[in-house]
Symmetry: C2
């Protein structure tokens, strides 16, 4: 997931590690800033795998910046990751958001639509947070204020997202 974010942001323009860190933090809604101990090793893995080029930029600031850019191999890997997200990446809202953020890099609208369709299928499967005697518990009968809130928010989110997904899938179909 971290690697996807790195590849995705670098597909737009070359950046150094620190700037990457800022963008990744914003992408998650400031929910969970990336730690240095995760970011720099991930960058180094990608450099070692030939997916990133680096050029050290002496100058202005503190430590010399390593400006990173995507190689052709890196771009190919990015497209593979976007084409075939694993099931968790469809299912988990944070991970799916990461996929969405970079989905525009997939050149084929049919492939883009396919990813959206998988997400929609997951959201359309009936699901509930709580069960009582095997039956799903409805928001109004959750029994306490807090669970009612959870269900209310989840319902609103789901409806907005499903509406958008249907619209977007239609729009991508037209663009064929």
């Amino acid at each position: 997931m971290l690697e996807l974010s790195i590849l995705g942001f670098l597909a737009e323009e070359p950046l150094h590690g620190y700037e990457l860190k800022e963008r990744i933090k914003a992408l998650s809604g400031h929910v969970r800033p990336v730690s240095d101990g995760a970011l720099y090793p991930a960058i180094n893995r990608l450099v070692a795998a030939g997916e990133l080029d680096q050029r050290t930029e002496e100058g202005a600031s503190a430590a010399p910046r390593r400006v990173l850019s995507l190689t052709e191999r890196g771009r190919a890997d990015l497209l593979d990751r976007l084409r075939g997200p694993k099931q968790v990446e469809i299912t988990d809202p944070v991970r799916f958001n990461t996929v969405l953020a970079f989905l525009r890099h997939l050149p084929d609208p049919a492939e883009q639509a396919e990813v959206l369709r998988r997400r929609l299928a997951f959201l359309e499967a009936p699901a509930s947070f709580f069960y009582r005697a095997g039956e799903p518990v409805r928001a109004e009968e959750a029994g306490d204020l807090f669970r009612e809130g959870m269900l209310r928010v989840a319902r609103a989110t789901g409806e907005t997202e499903r509406t958008w997904l249907r619209e977007a899938i239609t729009a991508l179909g037209r663009s064929r």
Copy 2:
């Protein structure tokens, strides 16, 4: 987080591991089923720490069930975890949901309201997923279909949640 879910569900009634697994899966919206390799060691840690009692129930099904119940120490730990969620547990929607699901076990409405207030404060801080030249990018100008969708869904979710939080905080204030 896993441990919080275990303690939370067992605060309601004794359960065995497999049933716990089902409930935890549902709690996350079926987003990410707990793996056995995480659940059973977590249970054993809590048993070893004296937070859970176990009673083996021979019978009906396959492997003999271990029915788990919360000890007084376990309940005290649960309350501590609910009273003082770490910042990630306020920030990360999935983790915050877990806290919410069990917040009713906190006996003091003022403490419950305090947790909601922290979440509201986080949601009220202006945040954006993307920046262009330092400025936050608005949904309508995200530049591509997918980022527009992300921003649209995030906005709807945030509004629903903030509205609910304000209502709930008021309601808890009245119940004093």
